[in-house]
């Protein structure tokens, strides 16, 4: 289990909302802090690493969980700039 400083719930949102909400939320973090983005959109598995690569933030990892409503993805992003 990864530890995050701030958690962002994007459950129920489809692309591009999780990424847009992430780009807004990351501005509130201090350098080095880790943001956990919770999503049920499978696209985030590929989109979050791609977003990190473009913006320069660090993708720490991705966890998958099986919930009642379906699969849930937790992406951990470290603010690096």
């Amino acid at each position: 289990m990864m530890q995050a400083d701030v958690k962002l719930d994007t459950l129920g949102y489809f692309c591009p909302m999780p990424i847009i909400l992430t780009s807004k939320k990351i501005k509130e973090l201090a350098l080095g802090q880790v943001l956990e983005v919770v999503s049920d959109d499978e696209g985030i598995k590929k989109d979050m690493p791609a977003w990190c690569e473009t913006t320069g933030h660090q993708m720490m990892g991705l966890e998958e969980e099986q919930a009642k409503s379906g699969r849930i993805y937790k992406a951990f992003v470290k603010k690096t700039k």
Binding site: G12, F14, P16, I19, W51, T55
Partner: protein, 176 residues
């Protein structure tokens, strides 16, 4: 012999920092599905730190017209055209399965149920993320669309040269 080897990834990162990637999108279509695709790409690119400019021309102008906007053109022909071609981001029809409004209504209901943002919401998000909106003056004139009937937040009123000047520097240029 080369004295200093430049690390390519570093120079690329530096280049991107000094000059962010530019995206230009031309929205010609006034269809709900196509406008959605355009705004999703625009907001996604903006969230990735790219500089995005959207050009609205022909039917695409309907997306940035106020709801129910007609025309305040001086001649009756264009006023009539404006009356027949009502604007508004939330009134765009689907390109297929519109079925006189029924199909579009169904799609909008499904989108709402799935918390999917519609064109008006995506457009507001785009504006919040500093996506630049440019309205094509030629087609505005042609279709009797006047400035006062467009939404607030239009950055420029310009033509093809402005578009090409931007597109020339763009790494992603889309025509939708």
């Amino acid at each position: 012999m080369i004295a200093t080897q430049i690390e390519p990834t570093v120079t690329l990162a530096q280049l991107q920092q000094s000059k962010p990637d530019r995206v230009t999108i031309v929205l010609l279509s006034g269809d709900l599905d196509k406008a959605m695709a355009a705004f999703i790409i625009a907001t996604g690119a903006a969230a990735m730190g790219m500089r995005v400019t959207m050009f609205f021309t022909f039917w695409g102008l309907n997306a940035i017209r106020r709801r129910g906007a007609t025309s305040s053109a001086k001649d009756w022909l264009r006023r009539m055209f404006g009356l027949l071609n009502r604007g508004g981001a939330d009134t765009l029809p689907l390109s297929r399965f519109h079925f006189g409004g029924l199909g579009t209504k169904m799609m909008q209901t499904v989108m709402k149920q799935n918390r999917m943002p519609g064109v008006p919401e995506l457009m507001q998000t785009a504006l919040d993320l500093d996506v630049r909106f440019i309205a094509c003056t030629t087609t505005m004139g042609l279709m009797g669309i006047t400035k006062d009937t467009l939404i607030d937040g239009i950055d420029q009123f310009a033509g093809v040269t402005t578009y090409l000047a931007e597109a020339k520097q763009g790494t992603v240029n889309l025509f939708i």
